[in-house]
């Protein structure tokens, strides 16, 4: 491919950031043909976003473009261009969609105005711009474009915000669209919608798409070519399939391909038993009658999109939020082996505090769960101290050995939490929870935002504990991880359990349509499978006003749904041994 054929070509792109030792980008060279779909992958800090900024001429102030670098957009040599030329190119010929739609939209400005200004900035008259804006809003999926134009960012859901940003980026039909992690902040089912939209627009306009992501399977599914960056250098530039093939097995387990933990025979007695749990925040019913039981050494995965109530279950069970109704009992093993059952919801302050030893939570964003000014070892030792398991130096020593097991050396253990990296903090939080040897350990997204090595360590540590007898609850939308850790799984939608059973069933061959869509939304890197993907329409309804009947019915893709779905709520019923689901149309033939 020659420069003349390409719509965008980059040669020897060097970006230096004087404050950091390493250059942000070094000798990056590639070209993009018109309409081509290119994926750019790499770990965080590899230079992906710097590349996007450089291509738009929006490098941060502390970064400088080496004068020898070349950026050609069509026949314009942008690297030699003045600010005004850059400005005219931006938005008109090369556009950007950013990661956090909430942050990328001006909170004080109406959506329509923000979209339309992409046109007015390039000399299009106001009326014409407004017309184009409305047309584009309709095209990106706003049912009522005029209402959307009048809305503010906070009035839209995450997916709709991202659609609005895409509308602004595509308004001038740019030759190149850079999408910088466009779906990372979105729920899995919405991710698929947005990516499909990007693809459709690209097909229509003929825009070249530069899709930046840390998620190789996702990129591989959607792109022709993949560029991989490492430490600011381009280390791979190849056909998507070949790149995927090289990395697939080791780094990216998928729901349908990874190992599944087998399920033990049903144990006789439960350590944790939850019945008809209901949690309300004001008018919003976040959890609407969830029941499950968990035995020693067992693990339950809870999956579902954000807002489905998974975290609320975790907080309710540990009594961090008030429970509206329901029953939670905990039967911790005692020294004598006899089990005394605790009615968790009835405990008063001090007994509850003592009971907490037996039920521990690793909260979501574990990094933030550590008191910033305390040292890692003190944080871990604290649990031992307050529950009288060990004091002073003994407690510290035990804390240190536990941390070492999780790969936190003595040096790091003496640092304050705020001085640790995200992954390190995550591990400290886990060490802290397991230090008190609880009977039940609830992990809320334990693997979010950690690198591969840490991920393995954490999975290993949790696995070891489970085998040691701790009962685990894993809350995550990382389905592969759930498959590896939890023999049984539960899918939640709008505060209810919609499918529950052995992981091998629920997360491999789900029956309820929502569960099917959720599982299929996980990118596998397989383009064929992506064609079979069930893409849901519409947004997740607000938990404050859930639809009647089966809460999923407005989005349900099932061809045979009838008005019973909208009238009556289906109960969670067994559809197979050890497999429950809530759907009027079950049992259904397996989907694959």
């Amino acid at each position: 491919m020659t420069v003349t054929d390409s719509i965008l070509s980059v040669r020897a792109l060097d970006v230096t950031r004087p404050r950091s030792a390493q250059p942000a980008l070094q000798g990056v060279t590639f070209a993009v043909a018109p309409g081509e779909r290119i994926g750019i992958v790499g770990h965080s800090g590899a230079g992906k976003s710097t590349l996007a900024s450089a291509l738009l001429g929006l490098l941060p102030r502390d970064a400088t473009l080496d004068p020898a670098s070349e950026i050609h957009l069509g026949d314009t040599a942008l690297h030699r261009a003045d600010a005004e030329t850059w400005r005219r190119a931006r938005g008109a010929r090369i556009a950007l969609v950013m990661q956090e739609p909430m942050l990328a939209l001006n909170p004080a400005m109406r959506i329509g105005a923000q979209v339309a200004e992409a046109a007015t900035a390039h000399g299009i008259a106001r009326d014409e711009a407004d017309a184009r804006m409305l047309e584009m809003l309709a095209k990106v999926g706003f049912g009522d474009p005029r209402a959307a134009a009048r809305a503010y960012a906070h009035e839209l859901s995450g997916g709709m915000r991202q659609r609005a940003l895409i509308a602004a980026a595509m308004l001038m039909r740019p030759a190149v669209l850079i999408a910088d992690e466009p779906t990372t902040a979105l729920d899995p089912t919405i991710q698929a919608q947005v990516l499909d939209l990007l693809g459709a627009l690209r097909d229509e306009v003929g825009t070249a798409l530069l899709l930046i992501s840390h998620d190789l399977p996702l990129v591989a599914e959607r792109c022709d070519r993949v560029l991989r960056l490492e430490h600011g250098r381009l280390v791979e530039d190849d056909h998507a399939d070949r790149v995927l093939a090289r990395h697939h097995i080791r780094d990216y387990p998928t729901p349908s391909s990874g190992p599944v933990v087998p399920r033990a025979a049903a144990p006789p007695s439960a350590v944790l038993s939850v019945q008809d749990l209901v949690v309300r925040y004001g008018d919003v019913e976040a959890v609407r009658g969830v029941s499950f039981q968990l035995a020693r050494g067992e693990a339950l995965g809870i999956v579902g999109e954000s807002g489905c109530g998974k975290s609320s279950v975790a907080h309710a069970v540990t009594r961090l939020v008030a429970v509206a109704s329901g029953r939670v009992t905990l039967t911790p093993p005692t020294a004598s082996g006899h089990a005394g059952t605790l009615d968790l919801l009835a405990l008063s302050r001090e007994p509850l505090r003592r009971a907490r030893r037996h039920i521990q939570l690793i909260p979501q964003d574990a990094g933030a769960s550590l008191t910033p000014h305390l040292t890692a070892e003190a944080l871990v030792a604290e649990g031992l101290e307050v529950h009288g398991l060990a004091q002073g130096a003994t407690a510290l020593a035990r804390a240190r050995s536990l941390l070492a097991e999780l790969g936190i050396g003595a040096d790091l253990a003496r640092r304050q939490a705020q001085q640790l990296s995200t992954g390190e903090r995550q591990r400290v939080a886990i060490a802290r929870a397991i230090a008190v040897e609880p009977a039940v350990l609830i992990c809320d997204e334990p693997l979010a935002a950690v690198d591969e090595a840490t991920r393995e360590r954490i999975i290993e540590a949790l696995e070891t504990r489970r085998r040691g007898g701790i009962a685990l609850v894993i809350i995550s939308h990382d389905l592969p991880a759930v498959r590896r850790l939890a023999p049984s799984a539960m899918v939640m939608y709008l505060g209810r359990v919609v499918e529950h059973g052995a992981t091998a069933e629920v997360l491999v061959a789900p029956q309820m349509p929502y569960a099917q869509a959720l599982v299929s939304a996980i990118p596998t890197g397989d383009r064929e499978s992506s064609r079979r993907r069930i893409v849901l329409h519409g947004e997740v309804p607000s938990p404050a006003a859930p639809p009647s009947g089966c809460a999923f019915h407005p989005r349900c893709p099932h061809p045979q749904k009838d008005d019973r779905c909208s009238r009556e709520r289906p109960a969670l019923v067994p559809i197979a041994p050890d497999h429950l689901a809530a759907c009027w149309k079950l049992p259904l033939p397996p989907s694959r």
Partner: protein, 321 residues
């Protein structure tokens, strides 16, 4: 939503009640009354003091006085000022417009200058001029405000005769357009003395907010759409950078009124600050209480206005109202 409004009204009522009570308690912290014999002034005999004491109700137990005070205050009757020998409400009504003019002008200057300068500083970041102006604002907000007023009086007014030293207008001066100019001429110095320190605070606040917003994602997004710099500044950055300034604005009425106490004294401005200080000196308790109450109510109203402005600038808050 309605609950929220009711709550807000309840809060305002509670606030007013607390202000009223605070005024009374602070004024009557120590026992005694304003009527006592004076060495230098044989006119103030014990007999006279006793008569006045009865006339103004200071012979009653303090609890009864409190009840009287509260019930009268809520009926809008602020009592009789013995130092001015006129109803308190009348004295306040004549002083309020002057203070209003001074404080509103000063705050106008403060926010206009502060926001413009701060926005410019935050947008331009590092230039020698920005650094220099930043130093100036740091000094301005660190000099005690009364000294700014003193220096303004000594230099521009007295030594160089650029401005008059006292009052709101030239007595028996011109009318019409010239009269208006004359009033502005009188207003300029006290308003600047009062407004500039606040402007410095606003500028620094605005500059730091601007620096933050400048790096915000949505500003980058706006640039990525190819917007002209000026438009990015005006349309995207400024409005959002105003939010911390507006949050802060509500409290500034209180600061400005505090400053007005001294500025009005120095520039013989016939306003509330001067009135209240005179009244404290004369131990004219009804007048002090009335004045403080009105000043506090002004602050409460000012805070509410700032709150409204904040809502205008922050659609998200508007929705929650």
């Amino acid at each position: 939503m309605r609950g929220n409004q009711l709550r807000r009204i309840g809060d305002a009522a509670l606030l007013v009640a607390l202000v009223v009570a605070t005024c009374f308690i602070l004024i009557r912290l120590a026992p005694g009354d304003p009527f006592y014999p004076r060495l230098d002034d044989p006119a103030w005999t014990p007999e006279r003091a006793a008569t006045q004491r009865v006339a103004f109700g200071y012979d009653k137990p303090i609890r009864i006085q409190f009840v009287y005070y509260v019930s009268r205050t809520f009926r809008g009757d602020l009592g009789w000022s013995h130092s001015r020998n006129q109803p308190v409400a009348e004295a306040l009504a004549s002083a309020l417009p002057a203070t209003g003019l001074l404080v509103v002008t000063a705050l106008g200057i403060a926010f206009a200058v502060g926001i413009l300068v701060g926005a410019w500083q935050g947008w331009r970041r590092d230039s020698p001029l920005v650094r220099a102006s930043d130093r100036v604002s740091l000094v301005l907000l660190s000099v005690p405000e009364f000294l700014i007023a003193v220096f303004a009086l000594m230099g521009p007014a007295l030594a160089w005769r650029w401005f008059p030293t006292a009052g709101m207008r030239t007595p028996y001066g011109p009318e019409g357009v010239l009269g208006l100019l004359d009033r502005l001429h009188h207003l300029a110095l006290p308003a600047l003395a009062l407004g500039l320190p606040i402007a410095a605070v606003v500028a620094r606040l605005q500059a730091s907010a601007m620096r933050e917003v400048r790096d915000a994602e949505f500003v980058r997004a706006a640039r990525s759409r190819g917007l002209l710099d000026g438009l990015v500044l005006r349309r995207h950055a400024l409005r959002n950078a105003l939010i911390p300034v507006l949050t802060y604005a509500g409290l500034q009425l209180s600061t400005a009124l505090s400053g007005a106490v001294i500025v009005e004294r120095l520039f013989s401005w016939p306003g509330m600050g001067r009135l209240i200080v005179d009244a404290v000196g004369a131990r004219d308790y009804p007048l002090v209480a009335g004045g403080v109450l009105v000043a506090a109510l002004c602050t409460v109203v000012g805070t509410m206005l700032a709150d409204l402005a904040l809502r205008w600038a922050t659609p998200r808050l508007r929705a929650r109202a």
